[in-house]
């Protein structure tokens, strides 16, 4: 398998606080990789750094789109990162509350379409075609995620679990080759988590994309991931297959606290 995303020696400082310390990470094409760690370990900050929301203090971020040259994406604005094929969801849901579910997904198509102000006003055949295409593609994604019955609801009126799924749908609409999910199962009940598990597997298979996910639900992580990276205090403390991680001493220590040697 070829590498899809490679992060080399990345460091992120907030004033005096080192949120990420010299971190290396890679994701291969078609792989599901999990990034775990206790609260405040710097996982979300890691996402923000590689998607251009923050500018990392040091380090290199490289992506390898399947049909294009490799790209160094440090310092790119987040919209350009998305355009290059890396899409994400947010831990504290950031949908567009006063837009409908379908429109939320249609926004995802923005960077794959072209029509501007004038074509919107004159509405040429090409524009109409493009618009229909956006609607159709977006609806298909909703169907795939299984939330098409909410199509005309306002995003703010959705149940929590559906909002999380809509975040995924919206990210998928940008045609990514790598998808970053920040705690997709947070706040979901066991049944929903089960559905999510299947959904993520299905997405990987159908869309042929790589997934990097942050998650606290261990059963989901162990079940889904091919490899796992563990962070604590901004540092990588372990990496490996689920079985390796389960028995790793440092990981257990990080999760249970320093003084619980037992």
């Amino acid at each position: 398998m070829n590498i899809a995303l490679e992060v080399k020696k990345m460091t992120m400082d907030f004033g005096g606080l080192r949120a990420i310390d010299n971190l290396d990470l890679d994701v291969k094409h078609g792989e599901i990789v999990a990034l775990i760690g206790p609260n405040g370990a710097g996982k979300t900050t890691f996402f923000n750094c590689i998607t251009g929301v923050y500018r990392p203090t040091r380090g290199d971020i490289l992506i390898y789109p399947p049909d294009r040259e490799q790209l160094r994406i440090n310092g790119l604005k987040s919209n350009n990162v998305t355009e290059k094929g890396m899409a994400r969801t947010f831990q504290n849901i950031r949908l567009f509350p006063n837009m409908t579910v379908l429109e939320n997904v249609m926004i995802g198509r923005h960077c794959r379409t072209k029509s501007g102000v004038f074509s919107a006003i004159f509405r040429s055949r090409k524009t109409i075609h493009e618009e229909n295409d956006i609607v159709e593609k977006s609806y298909n994604i909703l169907e795939k995620i299984g939330i098409e019955r909410f199509v005309n609801e306002f995003a703010k009126n959705l149940p929590y679990g559906v909002q999380r799924k809509l975040e995924i749908a919206r990210a998928l609409a940008t045609d990514p080759f790598i998808l970053l999910l920040d705690e997709p199962a947070a706040g979901m009940n066991p049944i929903e988590i089960k559905e999510l598990d299947e959904l993520i597997k299905k997405i990987r298979k159908q869309e042929k994309l790589s997934i990097l996910l942050i998650e606290h639900h261990m059963s989901l992580v162990m079940n889904l991931s091919d490899r796992i990276f563990v962070m604590d205090y901004g540092r990588k403390i372990a990496q490996g297959t689920p079985d390796e991680i389960k028995s790793n001493k440092d990981v257990i220590k990080a999760y249970l606290g320093e003084d619980s040697d037992a």
Binding site: T51, V53, K77, S78, N79, T82, E83, A87, R88, F90, R94, L95, F96, P97, N98, M99, T100, L102, E103, M106, I107, G108, H110, C111, R112, T113, S115, G116, V117, A120, I121, R123, T127, E130, E131, N132, I134, V135, E136, Y139, N140, E143, E148, V151, N152, F154, K156, N157, R170, A171, T174
Partner: protein, 403 residues
């Protein structure tokens, strides 16, 4: 239903306001004749009205709390929204309206037609600002600057070079857009509230320059004898030209509605709304923030510029006093009252806000007071405006689009 407790509360509030407004409402000193005027009746009036208003305030607050749970809309609104949603009724209604609008100059006097033309200018300004504030969520407090750019473009080009209305209209639109981009480039990366203040500052700078740079703008005395719009060189009397400008304005407003409506549900319009809703998520979805904001800003400015040129042509006289911050505030309150992003709301609000003071003379002194209060009350109780924007819905059957 009303408990002793509530009455007590209202009494306290009412006494508080009586004391609070005491020096300003009751005492008036005539410093020239050295007499103090004690207007105790005002205190009484404040006490009574605050007492009852505080009940209303609490009642509305409670209702707002209840409405927070989704889907408990009030019925009046849902009827209006139903109308907006059903294309057949909508088309029927708009046909009636257009018919009425066409016959209007023959029903009403010239004076009244003129006032309605005024209101139409504000509809245009409101819809223009609606793109910037309502759709893209950029609080522009200096919108009137672009209006001034348009008005002065026409006035000056007409004064110095004798250019006619029709040839200047696109120039005015272009110049305003140019100013919009010029200002927008540096300021649009600012946070929302800073943007508001910078645009306010910009608006004031433009006005102060117009007021002080006599060689350029003829200072506070303004420019008079601006030519009215022509029609293939036909000579028109004052009355005909009032009617002509009315129809002209009507046409332009319909054009504006058409454009804004198309934009709202286009790729660009959706990007504006997304930007208003959540900037960070919007960028993460691949939308170029600066470019999107700039388009909205420039387009809004273009509309203000056109409205300005029309205003200059209609009144045949302009001076900087027409372009104060209060004008910006008035246009903003149209958008706020109408409902952010809602075309119909903005139209209704402009008519309410422009026509009420005209026809209820008693109102006109209190006009700015009421605008101010409206903005606060709308934000507290009905931030979505009188007629909230309705998003387009789509119907699907077996994943075939029907719209």
């Amino acid at each position: 239903m009303i408990t002793i407790q509530e009455i007590k509360k209202s009494l306290i509030v009412s006494v508080w306001f009586m004391l609070l407004t005491f020096p300003i409402m009751v005492i008036r000193v005539n410093t020239v004749e050295k007499i103090v005027e004690w207007r105790w009746e005002n205190m009484f009036f404040i006490g009574i009205s605050v007492f009852f208003l505080s009940f209303l305030w609490r009642y509305l607050m409670k209702r707002k709390e209840l409405e927070k749970k989704p889907d408990i809309g009030t019925w009046e609104i849902s009827i209006l929204q139903e109308i907006v949603k059903k294309p057949k009724i909508l088309i029927c209604c708009s046909c009636c309206l257009v018919l009425f609008a066409l016959l209007l100059p023959f029903i009403f006097s010239f004076y009244q037609t003129n006032i309605i033309t005024n209101a139409l200018i504000y509809v245009m300004l409101g819809l223009g600002l609606n793109i910037v504030v309502g759709l893209a969520g950029l609080l522009d407090l200096g919108y009137v600057a672009f209006y001034a750019v348009g008005a002065y473009s026409y006035a000056l080009l007409n004064h110095h070079f004798g250019l006619g209305f029709w040839s200047v209209l696109p120039v005015a639109a272009f110049l305003s857009a140019f100013f919009g981009i010029l200002l927008g480039f540096p300021v649009l990366r600012l946070r929302g509230d800073y943007l508001a203040i910078v645009t306010l500052g910009f608006g004031e700078i433009i006005r102060l320059i117009l007021e002080n740079w006599n060689e350029f703008s003829f200072g506070p005395s303004g420019i008079a004898n601006i030519k009215r719009p022509g029609l293939f060189g036909i000579q028109m009397s004052l009355e005909t030209s009032i009617i002509y400008i009315y129809y002209l304005m009507l046409l332009i407003v319909i054009f504006t509605i058409f454009v804004v409506n198309r934009l709202q549900n286009s790729r660009v319009g959706r990007a504006w709304i997304a930007l208003r809703e959540d900037e960070i998520a919007c960028q993460a979805m691949g939308i170029d923030k600066t470019k999107t904001k700039l388009t909205a800003f420039a387009l809004g400015a273009t509309w203000a510029g056109m409205a300005g040129a029309i205003f200059a042509a209609k009144t045949t006289f302009i001076n900087p006093a027409s372009f104060t911050f209060l004008e910006s505030a008035m246009i903003l309150s149209i958008v706020v009252l109408g409902g952010m992003g809602s075309i119909i709301g903005v139209i209704i609000a402009s008519f309410i806000l422009i026509l009420t003071p005209e026809y209820l003379r008693a109102f006109s002194d209190y006009r700015m007071l009421i605008f101010g209060a409206t903005m606060v009350i709308m934000m507290v109780f009905r931030p979505q405006g009188i007629i909230p924007n309705v998003r387009r819905t789509y119907k699907f059957s077996k994943s075939r689009i029907e719209n």
